[in-house]
């Protein structure tokens, strides 16, 4: 059954998407503001992340303790997430609690008080989290890959949490100004999925957000990307670790690129299908070198990354990278087979009901469709979009995205590459 969500735009520009389900007596709320980490002001990467830690710690009329009590007494966890482009408040509540919970979420997003003592406390937590990241090979590999793929201060290359020095220096005034500039109804979409009829959902959303009137600042232009020429290799030695993490990647395409579905299917064959696609067959199943290996395509507003990730014993790092090279060379030169394409397609189309089973998953799907302007019937059109991809298009996508000679390869873990930390290769 197609989702057929209801979509409405309030007079102030806020968008509502609602879908009624009856799986459980619960409702998922997903509120997204186009104020992700790309909007961090110059010189202040990490500001949006700190704001996400403080936003729900007080409003004009509620103290942090009041908010804690309101959430906890209903068994609700409010998750605030920051991606490159979106700042999201997500929770699931019992259907009976929908009105007061949406009112609370609205209050938090529209009227945060950002108290000084809360900012100081959350800074300590963020700094601890940054230190934990510094000791995590998976995070170090991925952040180094992104910094290499998106150099020169590109927002996609910056660590979302920022650095300890910058976080320490952030002030309440900066957070208040940023919230005032970036949080506005016309930059917001509220998705409500669950055991609540769509008329009621609309009325409640309207009553909560109607009085919010503020113009959003213009969207941040993303700097142009220069495709990397030549292969690069970076080593992040972490000799206190047992296993190395490899992050191997490329800058690829935008989400709105006409080749997106061909790239998606190609990547599924290459590094996802079943247990890691062709990469999993080679590196895990045939060679027994890794517990996990896969590739992820993250096409975004700007050209997003395709990142291959693997956890590898230090002794096998070079062999694993050679195997990744080999699989890329094979897919680029020989292409995938019609059977592989059909298998991945059948899987992706067949998995739609499962991917849209829970309220939270539907809400997330609708929010993504709204952000990329994919249409209210996107779930219904998706099988045809995938169905239209030909073998030639999938193979052209492999040639377009993957090239061992232009790969960026990062190794983080108990591994040294010549003199400690020295960059090798182009």
């Amino acid at each position: 059954m197609p989702l057929n969500p209801v979509r409405a735009t309030l007079p102030n520009g806020a968008v509502l998407l609602a879908k009624q389900t009856s799986t459980t007596p619960a409702v998922a709320i997903n509120l997204a503001v186009r104020a992700g980490s790309v909007a961090d002001p110059a010189g202040q990467p990490g500001l949006t992340w700190l704001l996400s830690r403080v936003l729900d710690r007080g409003t004009a009329t509620r103290s942090a303790a009041d908010i804690a009590e309101e959430l906890d007494s209903r068994g609700i966890t409010l998750t605030i997430a920051v991606t490159r482009h979106l700042f999201s408040l997500v929770c699931t509540c019992l259907a009976d609690d929908f009105e007061p919970v949406l009112a609370l979420v609205g209050d938090i997003v529209m009227r945060p008080s950002l108290p000084d003592d809360e900012i100081a406390a959350r800074k300590r937590e963020v700094i601890t989290a940054i230190r934990q990241d510094q000791d995590n090979p998976a995070v170090r590999a991925s952040e180094t890959l992104m910094a290499c793929l998106y150099p020169d201060g590109h927002p996609y290359g910056r660590p979302t949490k920022g650095s300890i020095e910058i976080v320490e220096a952030l002030t309440r005034d900066q957070l208040v100004r940023h919230h005032a500039e970036r949080f506005a109804p016309a930059a917001s979409s509220v998705v409500v999925v669950g055991d609540v009829d769509t008329v009621r959902a609309r009325n409640v959303v309207a009553s909560v957000f109607d009085g919010w009137n503020r113009r959003p600042a213009p969207e941040i232009p993303l700097p142009p990307l220069t495709p990397s020429r030549g292969r690069r290799r970076r080593v992040v030695p972490m000799m206190n670790k047992a296993q190395a993490d490899i992050a191997y990647g490329f800058v690829t395409i935008r989400r709105r690129d006409p080749d997106y579905y061909a790239c998606w299917l190609m990547n599924n064959v290459f590094g996802q299908y079943s247990i890691g696609g062709r990469l999993g067959d080679s590196i895990r199943e045939r060679q027994g070198m890794a517990y996990y290996v896969s590739s992820a395509l993250d096409a975004n507003v700007a050209e997003g990354p395709l990142a291959i990730r693997a956890g590898i014993s230090p002794a096998n790092v070079d062999r694993a990278i050679a195997s990744i090279d080999q699989e890329i060379t094979a897919i680029v030169t020989e292409g995938i087979t019609q059977k592989e394409l059909d298998d991945s397609r059948r899987y992706l189309v067949g998995s739609i009901p499962r991917a849209l089973e829970t309220n939270a998953a539907i809400a997330n799907f609708l929010q993504t469709a709204e952000f990329f302007d994919l249409g209210l019937d996107y779930d219904a059109r998706l099988p045809d979009l995938l169905g239209a991809v030909t073998l030639d298009q999938a193979n052209a996508a492999a040639r377009r995205l993957l090239d061992v000679n232009c790969a960026t390869v990062v190794i983080a873990g108990p591994y040294v590459d010549g003199p400690l930390g020295l960059e090798a290769g182009g």
Partner: protein, 425 residues
């Protein structure tokens, strides 16, 4: 829910859920790392990996795609009491899922080359876990808290056992425990129960029962004094973990301790498969206020898992930058002493119950999650323990929590673990 037992001893639980055109099949075995002894630690988990590698009627190279062609997902996991396998796919895949599980129960191959190749995959999994200081501390704390019971060793096994176990060890273990009379099959979804049961019978009835598997009989003796351990290893962050021998799921104290944990660190629910993916509501919880709000820790987490035999209730905290672990421990134990001495209030109990009720709803939002819960509880105890959870939670009183806290929290019952990092380089 339909309950049946086939003649060969296989228990079958079927529940209709028509909210999506999906079905979830889980096959559960009463075998986990507690059934292992030194020399073969990790064998249950390794067998789980081997049971995805082809059978007499599913050639090795055709495993991939069997469920994917129905848009399905598959997986498995092993823990201390259980090993389980699942497929969730469109409802037309039901027969395929049952075929796979019947094959897995009786006809896995354990090809020697696959055993060798999987050895290094599992060692890689172990090393990946060691990269995480908190996981390392958890493993060491458990091994210290238990001196006799086989809950003491990690489910992944000790490295030397993984390096030396043989194909014969693996296959012998598989044959002993993978018998219908040691298993529960669960089906939840958009199915007709009568037809589903006919298909179960078709696929499983010819599988012969086996001898009742041996069980390790050693019980953990009562702990008679506090135990402590400190891991000193290079790192950036200090971690504290405190563990108490805790009631098993069938103990009358289990639900009172679950409520106690909700008061201390926020309710987690009861679903090992999904509960831990959403953080607990804990901003007003006692230990959050005592540790996180006072700036001593960046996070605190309590864990009480339903288990067949008494396992551990653990509280973990990550020290904020430059906060000594002793300060975190002191604040944590002060709160635990307070609840041990004074119990909890009516208001706290009411909130804990509201949280637990909500989590039970949130944890049943998919056919996969519902099927997990039925099979999990049937395997570690019986499914009624789960079905009765709402009434058992409702029956918890301030007095029963206080009494359970007094039994749980004496100093002599605890083990305190530090991960105290050495400077990097």
């Amino acid at each position: 829910m339909r309950r049946t037992t086939l003649e060969n001893g296989l228990k079958v639980l079927i529940q209709e859920e028509h909210t999506a055109p999906l079905a979830s099949v889980w096959c559960w075995y009463r075998v986990g790392s507690k059934d292992e002894h030194p020399g073969i630690t990790g064998v249950s988990h390794w067998c789980e990996h081997m049971n995805f590698k082809g059978t007499e009627n599913i050639p090795r190279d055709q495993v991939k795609g069997l469920i994917e062609q129905y848009g399905g997902s598959w997986n498995g996991y092993t823990w201390i009491d259980q090993t389980t396998y699942l497929e969730t796919a469109t409802r037309d895949a039901l027969d395929r899922m049952l075929f796979i599980e019947a094959e897995r129960m009786a006809r896995c191959l354990y090809h020697p080359d696959d055993c060798e190749s999987e050895r290094t995959v599992i060692i890689s999994e172990l090393q990946g876990g060691e990269n995480d200081p908190d996981q390392l501390l958890d493993q060491e704390l458990t091994a210290t808290a238990f001196k006799a019971h086989t809950y003491r060793h990690p489910t992944i096994g000790w490295l030397s056992d993984l390096q030396t176990m043989t194909r014969a060890d693996l296959y012998g273990y598989y044959r002993r425990y993978y018998v219908p009379n040691n298993a529960t099959l669960v089906i939840v979804g958009d199915v007709d129960p009568d037809e589903a049961l006919r298909r179960v019978d078709h696929h499983f009835r010819a599988i012969q029962p086996g001898a009742e598997p041996d069980r390790i009989r050693t019980a953990e003796p009562e702990q008679t004094g506090e135990r402590r351990l400190t891991i000193r290893k290079e790192g950036t962050t200090a971690y504290l973990k405190v563990g108490y021998h805790a009631p098993s799921v069938e103990d009358a104290d289990f639900y009172p301790v679950l409520a106690l944990d909700a008061v201390l660190t926020g309710a987690k629910g009861l679903n090992l498969w999904s509960s831990f993916r959403v953080p607990p509501p804990q901003r007003s919880a006692r230990l959050y206020r005592a540790l996180v709000e006072r700036g001593l820790a960046s996070c605190v987490f309590g864990a009480l898992m339903p288990t067949a035999e008494p396992f551990l209730y653990t509280v973990s905290a990550t020290a904020t930058d430059a906060t000594p672990l002793a300060a975190v421990e002191s604040a944590l134990l002060e709160e635990l002493d307070r609840v041990w001495r004074d119990g909890i209030t009516d208001a706290e109990l009411a909130k804990a119950k509201a949280q637990l009720r909500a989590r039970l709803v949130f944890d049943s939002d998919s056919v996969t999650n519902i099927a997990h819960q039925l099979g999990y509880f049937e395997t570690i105890a019986n499914v009624d323990t789960f079905l009765e959870a709402p009434s058992r939670i409702a029956a918890v009183t301030v007095d029963s929590v206080a009494a359970a806290a007094r039994r749980l929290l004496p100093a002599a019952n605890r083990t305190v673990g530090y991960f105290d990092p050495l400077p990097l380089g």
